[in-house]
């Protein structure tokens, strides 16, 4: 039997699982506060635009979005199998495609950010 290429998809899953474990609850708290009327300073339009226009921040946001979407996609693929959906190749293609499309969209929006 040959060694599997699963590490290609599992590597970013493990990295994303770790990243989202550290980061996602705090991010959710931020937008929840905004929704409750207490908008954190950084989420004001001008502050966020200025913050996200920095090159390294763009890269960081892109990486966070890719790893978060990828790890969610990979887990969703396994959950579908666990719930009895046996068309694994179809499910995998679909969820990974959404993760990649979401990342590409985020990259485009980040590059389109208006300068000050």
């Amino acid at each position: 039997m040959a060694q599997s290429n699963k590490p290609i998809v599992w590597g970013p899953f493990a990295a994303g699982g770790t990243l989202t474990a550290f980061l996602t609850p705090a991010l959710i708290l931020l937008t929840l506060l905004a929704g409750l009327g207490h908008v954190p300073e950084l989420l004001a339009y001008e502050a966020l635009r200025a913050f996200a226009s920095h090159g390294l921040v763009k890269l960081g946001l892109g990486v966070v979005i890719f790893l978060s979407l990828w790890s969610a996609a990979h887990r969703l693929r396994i959950t579908c199998y666990d719930l009895g959906v046996r068309a694994d190749t179809l499910v995998a293609t679909l969820v990974y495609a959404v993760a990649i499309a979401g990342t590409l969209a985020a990259a485009v929006y980040l590059l389109r950010l208006p300068a000050a």
Partner: protein, 134 residues
């Protein structure tokens, strides 16, 4: 001569979808795995936020307004609960994935998981502080 032995192995079928109801540990597992739905959906929502940010102040104000809708608040509460459950379960399993052997003995599981929990708390506080949440 030996007597003929009948072999007709019987394979018991398992429920295809609701197998996890047979024990609480499998329900907890499915809850852990289901956290990915909220983390994924929330991240897509952030991508939408970036889109609105790139479109200008009015579009972004509309995004912030949408965050205040009851549906968005309920979604956030579920997302917060499931993502916190993901963090708790993920860090609880770190001693299994990354044991540390110092000399002869392994670091106790509690130390490795505890360090991760502390790091999680620190990261969360720093993010909230940097974002000016308090």
């Amino acid at each position: 001569m030996a007597e003929q032995v009948t072999r007709k192995p019987y394979l018991r079928e398992l429920p295809r979808t609701l197998w996890f109801l047979r024990h609480p540990r499998y329900v907890r597992y499915m809850a852990r795995e289901f956290s990915c739905f909220f983390i994924g959906a929330y991240t897509l929502m952030l991508v939408l936020g970036l889109k609105r940010l790139a479109e200008g102040p009015e579009a972004y104000a509309g995004f912030l307004e949408a965050l205040a809708s009851p549906g968005a608040i309920v979604f956030h509460l579920f997302a917060l609960a499931f993502s916190a459950y993901h963090s708790i379960t993920w860090f609880r399993l770190t001693p299994k994935a990354m044991p540390v052997q110092l000399g002869e003995n392994f670091l106790p599981d509690g130390v490795i998981a505890g360090a991760h929990y502390a790091g999680w708390a620190l990261v969360s506080l720093v993010v909230l502080w940097l974002a000016g949440a308090f």
